[in-house]
């Protein structure tokens, strides 16, 4: 019969379990907050195909290989692919979502700095994947 006290083991297990629960809850919560789209977000249709990006604004304006947005506005990207799987990435704004044929994936962001930023495909999609790039121009409304 084991008669020694084992409360330190239970405290140890409790601390580790509590930390793991915190990790799960916090990650889940932040993900929910990040995915919560503001009501005034403008929808931009993003189409990936070998090997360039096409953007269509709400007013029907189309852009190929470049995207012009306004600073401090919210934008919701609806990302699709015409051929193989691509991945839409604006590195400087931590925007990353796959473009999958037959699916519409969404992600939103609000640029808080004006300037030029790179858009790059982040899923190997064929011979010229390395050069499947576009340019994001964020314009300051005030200027």
């Amino acid at each position: 019969m084991n008669t020694h006290s084992n409360w330190p083991e239970w405290i140890y297990v409790g601390v580790v379990v509590a930390l793991l629960i915190y990790v799960g809850a916090e990650a889940w919560n932040i993900e929910r907050i990040i995915e919560h789209i503001p009501s005034d977000a403008e929808i931009i249709q993003v189409t990936g195909q070998q090997w360039f990006w096409t953007f269509e604004h709400e007013d029907g304006t189309k852009e190929i290989g470049e995207l012009h947005l306004k600073k401090d506005h919210a934008y919701k990207f609806e990302v699709v692919s015409k051929d193989v799987i691509h991945s839409f990435n604006i590195h400087d704004y931590v925007v990353l979502v796959d473009a999958v044929p037959g699916r519409v994936n969404t992600v939103w962001f609000s640029p808080d700095e004006s300037g030029e930023f790179d858009i790059q495909c982040r899923e190997y999609c064929g011979l010229i994947h390395y050069n499947m790039r576009a340019k994001l121009y964020v314009d300051d409304d005030k200027s």
């Binding site: 140890y12 930390l19 990790v23 990650a27 929910r32 907050i33 704004y93 931590v94 962001f109 609000s110």
Partner: protein, 76 residues
Amino acid sequence: MLIFVISPINFSFALDDDPGKYLNRKAEIWNLFYRMMTVAFVIGSVVSGTLIWLVWRFRESNHKAKKTRYEEQGKW
């Protein structure tokens, strides 16, 4: 106990009804990463520290080591 579990779940799902707020994705995601790394290193230190202490404390050559019942009887 149920209150503590259900309340945050209700609160989180209620978010869907309100419009989202503007936020800095980069800051939110990197902050989350740093918090997760802090927790990961704390767990890593606690677990590995405990194992190191166990091995050090219960080695045969430790002067505090006691013989087990089986060792005292010379048979196991």
